[in-house]
């Protein structure tokens, strides 16, 4: 059913269609509308057989989800930013225990300085936690990915995090096609847990594992995660057939078949990038784009395949590893390590800064002309930075920093 709807509410509707049995709620912008909507649905009875638990922290939110999942209840929560970091120990734990929790991450910057607006730093902070991380480009994709996420998580007994750009998607109202309940019921069958706490068939879950087996535990986790690279396309195809929309697979190539310059990105910025690609194609630049929908596990083979024509790759990222550089860029570079391809990192949109098409266009043109530096901060206010560095030279404690920066 087509509806003009806020992203958060669409996600809440999609989650409700998947019949979660325990929903844990702790408010944090910009995900709050999702759990508010789910809470209302449970309270009014629209979502039945569901426990809506107002928890005392994000740590509790993930922990309640862990407990519920361990007794075979389909468990869901949503968080963002600081909240994700507050629950990070439990995030790792859910994955380690193999519990198929689904969580929406409304991507937001991490403080200090405190900042409620969108970037991908939060998601990057848990990329090694053992969760499948899916990034939505649009609200339609966010809806579709949530339906896929429950089936995927339960198929593999791996938790799934659906990453949605905070405010940009969560708070934007656009037309979304919400699938019918009977369709979703078919796509997301009742939860059949791999393991369940049952007094009549008791087990001990959560043993302490020492050096003698820890590596094997991790190795097996890696195998299971890699298995997702096969399952996701299967589920995406199946879902696409059911609701007659393009599949939400591992990656989204856009005009990249023969492109020598390919822009790689995740999330909603892809829309802007595609516009710029169209614009530059019209001027004769041989450019394409590649959206990464599945960041973890990282679809190395698919990425290599889609980038085979590229001699230059620009990774537009809403996060970076301070002291090194782009995070996704590192993965892309790894995927291309045996090829002669130049990989650039464009850090953009940090803390909610708008990413203008004009800015991207200029950078891509530079890239096509071979003048783009290895790492660029899009729309950096250089005058401001200069002024600040200048001020630092008078401050004894900052002097060395200012000097070094200038030397570079």
């Amino acid at each position: 059913m087509q509806r003009q709807i806020e992203g958060s509410l669409a996600i809440a509707e999609a989650v409700a269609l998947c019949r979660p049995q325990v929903v844990c709620a702790y408010p944090i912008s910009p995900q709050t509308h999702i759990i508010e909507a789910l809470g209302a649905m449970v309270k009014e009875g629209a979502l039945d057989n569901c426990e809506f638990v107002n928890v005392d922290s994000e740590m509790a939110a993930m922990s309640v989800a862990i407990g519920a999942s361990a007794v075979g209840a389909r468990s869901y929560t949503a968080t963002a930013s600081q909240g994700l970091l507050y629950m990070i120990e439990a995030v790792y734990n859910a994955a380690g225990l193999g519990l198929p929790v689904v969580m929406t991450l409304a991507n937001r910057a991490i403080g200090a300085p405190i900042n409620i607006w969108n970037d991908h730093t939060d998601a990057m902070a848990v990329r090694d936690a053992g969760w499948i991380q899916l990034f939505a480009e649009t609200n339609q994709e966010a809806v579709d990915l949530h339906v896929l996420a429950f089936a995927l998580a339960e198929e593999l007994s791996v938790p799934v995090m659906v990453c949605v750009d905070g405010f940009i998607l969560t708070h934007s109202i656009e037309r979304v096609d919400l699938p019918d309940q009977d369709v979703v019921d078919r796509l997301v069958p009742p939860f059949a847990p791999r393991q369940v706490l049952d007094p009549n068939d008791p087990v001990s879950i959560g043993a302490m594992v020492g050096p003698e087996a820890f590596t094997e535990v991790r190795y097996l986790a890696q195998l299971r995660m890699r298995r997702a690279l096969e399952v996701i396309p299967e589920l995406a195809e199946r879902n696409a057939d059911a609701w007659h929309r393009p599949p939400t697979g591992l990656i989204h190539p856009y005009r990249s078949i023969d492109a020598t310059l390919i822009v790689v990105a995740m999330g909603s910025v892809l829309g802007t990038i595609k516009d710029v690609v169209d614009d530059l194609r019209a001027t004769g630049v041989n450019i394409g784009a590649l959206g990464i929908s599945c960041f973890r596990p990282f679809p190395v083979n698919e990425v290599r395949e889609q980038l085979r024509s590229a001699t230059r790759v620009v990774v537009v990222e809403k996060a970076f590893s301070i002291g090194n550089g782009g995070v996704l860029s590192t993965d892309i570079a790894m995927a291309l390590r045996d090829r002669r391809v130049t990989v650039h990192t464009v850090v953009a949109g940090l803390g909610g800064r708008p990413i203008w098409a004009a800015s991207l266009r200029a950078l891509f043109v530079n890239a096509a002309e071979g003048t783009l530096p290895a790492t660029v901060f899009c729309d950096l206010n250089e005058e401001l930075v200069e002024r600040e560095l200048e001020r630092m030279t008078h401050d004894r404690s900052s002097r060395s920093l200012a000097r070094r920066d200038r030397a570079e």
Partner: protein, 544 residues
């Protein structure tokens, strides 16, 4: 369910980890000798029969008593219960009322008509028992149980010895004495009364007895040399009590002085009160603390109106008056005369200064050592004359006491020895485990419960009759009292070790079977031993 590798484990799989290898000490169950058993001159397995009584198994309890003592109803009244003096429960509140429970069991046996079957095959041996007091009765009972033919010669017209002629009826009703003697007679012991043995060797020979036990008691009151005028009425307590039993009531007058401080003095004083004496005054040369009489008796005598004069001796008796010398304790705690005299009016003077045994039946038998007026016996109650045994008040053997209970113990011990001697075997020495001392107990576990007192006849109702003063316990009270037993030193299956082991290393074997340690898992922490209420677990070094 296919569980994830390593993170999820099947229940109870730690049984594969044998933590017993950590142990440096191991627990062992022990059985210790309970202080009550240890103190019983009659050799009763007191704790054992209390255990049965705790469950209400009164007949089983009674049969356990009967394994050593054939006179529970009598002993439940006449015994001065050294078991209670030794009882560890004193450390918690008060001693267990063992004597009261024994009496309850003895009375119940009489009411129910319980008997002890003789199952031993006839041995073909004949044993003579001289005297039917507690020693003789005990010997006869055990001997007949062992299959021997037993004949008891009793000089008096009725059986019982001091039970009948010494202990007043208000302490020991005669129906009880009759019932317990009748039960022994019914087992096949032949009692011949008014049959005084002049010479025991002759009697053995004439009756073709293979062995003999002499338990003739100490029936002759001591008469120290007190200067007396012709008109003075002086008699001894033994004769007086004997006379009362035979209906020959002595004319004591209104004011009676009893001279002595033992239990017999108390019996005489309390009897005098019941015979109508207006005033009964007990004169004793030392202090109350030094009186050999049992405290309970002294208290009862005082309650019944007997007056006491400590540190006093009778120097002279004349008609109607006594000359009393005041004594003082010297540095060694001995009484010495002060030279200060006073007169005391008295219609009669009853001497209760000890008893002697009539040893004439051993005359001419040089093998029997009777120096200092008692028969000397070995650890098995045998005199120097092989096959001739002696016990009770007449003998100076293993038990130093002169009580009914010691006499029963002598009789039982002698019976076992006679049996062995007749069979030509040597008795194996009894191995007694170390004492279950109070310091081994964990008293916290015992519920607080003060002892149940037996009902007692009011003092005012004791004056003119010989009604029994001390009543028996009800079944409920007896059960309560039995359950106050702490089972010192012997497992009573309280499950504490089973429960307190942090490693589940105690195996419960089922009712009556106790427990065993599972040394595969026992880490040797010792909690079981510390927390064993009765001290029945020891920790011993482990030698891996």
């Amino acid at each position: 369910m296919t569980t994830p590798f390593a993170i999820t484990l099947g229940v109870g799989s730690s049984l594969a980890n044998k933590t017993g290898s950590w142990r440096v000490e191991r627990p062992v169950y022990v059985d210790r000798h309970p202080p009550c058993n240890n103190a019983c001159p009659a050799g009763e397995a007191t704790q054992g029969w209390l255990y049965q009584a705790e469950e209400g198994n009164y007949e089983a309890a009674w049969r356990l008593i009967m394994a050593s003592n054939p006179l529970p109803a009598i002993m439940g009244r006449a015994c001065f219960h050294p078991c209670e003096s030794a009882c560890n429960r004193v450390q918690i509140d008060e001693a267990v009322g063992i004597n009261a429970v024994e009496r309850f069991l003895g009375d119940r046996a009489i009411d129910e008509g319980w008997t002890v079957p003789v199952s031993a095959p006839p041995s073909g041996k004949r044993v003579l028992v001289v005297g039917s007091g507690p020693a003789g009765l005990a010997a006869a009972y055990h001997l007949v149980l062992l299959g021997h033919e037993v004949v008891v010669y009793e000089a008096a017209p009725q059986c019982g010895g001091m039970l009948r002629y010494g202990i007043p009826q208000y302490r020991l009703p005669r129906a009880v004495v009759d019932a317990e003697i009748d039960r022994i007679a019914a087992m096949g012991v032949r009692f011949e009364v008014e049959r005084r043995v002049e010479n025991v060797a002759d009697a053995m020979q004439r009756g073709a007895f293979d062995a003999a036990f002499v338990g003739i008691g100490a029936q002759r009151g001591k008469h120290p040399d007190i200067p007396s005028g012709d008109a003075a009425k002086v008699l001894d307590a033994v004769s007086m009590l004997h006379g009362v039993e035979e209906g020959a009531l002595p004319a004591l007058g209104r004011r009676v002085v009893i001279y002595g401080g033992g239990d017999t003095a108390m019996d005489a004083a309390r009897t005098a009160q019941r015979l109508g004496a207006a005033e009964t005054i007990l004169v004793y040369r030392r202090t109350r603390d030094q009186m050999p009489a049992h405290d309970e008796e002294v208290c009862d005598a005082a309650l019944e109106g007997v007056q006491m004069r400590w540190l006093s001796t009778v120097s002279r008796a004349d008609g109607g008056r006594l000359l009393i010398e005041t004594m003082v304790l010297n540095d060694q705690g001995l009484a010495e005369g002060t030279g200060h005299f006073e007169e005391l009016e008295a219609d009669s003077l009853v001497l209760a200064l000890g008893q002697d045994t009539d040893l004439t039946l051993f005359d001419g038998d040089v093998a029997v050592d009777t120096t200092r007026g008692v028969v000397h016996v070995d650890d098995h109650q045998m005199t120097g004359h092989a096959g001739l045994f002696c016990g009770g008040d007449a003998a100076a053997g293993p038990s130093a006491e002169r009580t009914v209970t010691a006499a029963v113990g002598d009789g039982a011990r002698a019976a076992a020895a006679i049996d062995a001697w007749l069979a030509g075997v040597t008795l194996a020495p009894t191995v007694i485990p170390p004492l279950a001392s109070a310091d081994r107990l964990n008293p916290w576990y015992y519920a607080d419960a003060s002892r149940t007192l037996r009902p007692r006849l009011e003092a005012a109702r004791r004056r003119s009759n010989f009604d029994e003063v001390v009543g028996g316990l009800t079944a409920e009270d007896a059960l309560f009292e039995a359950r106050r037993c702490m089972s010192c030193g012997n497992c009573f299956e309280c499950d504490n070790c089973y429960g307190v082991c942090p490693d589940n290393a105690v195996i419960k074997l089922g009712p009556g079977q106790r427990y065993e340690f599972n040394l595969d898992y026992c880490k040797g922490c010792g909690i079981c031993a510390t927390e064993c209420p009765c001290g029945a677990i020891d920790m011993v070094p482990e030698h891996h």
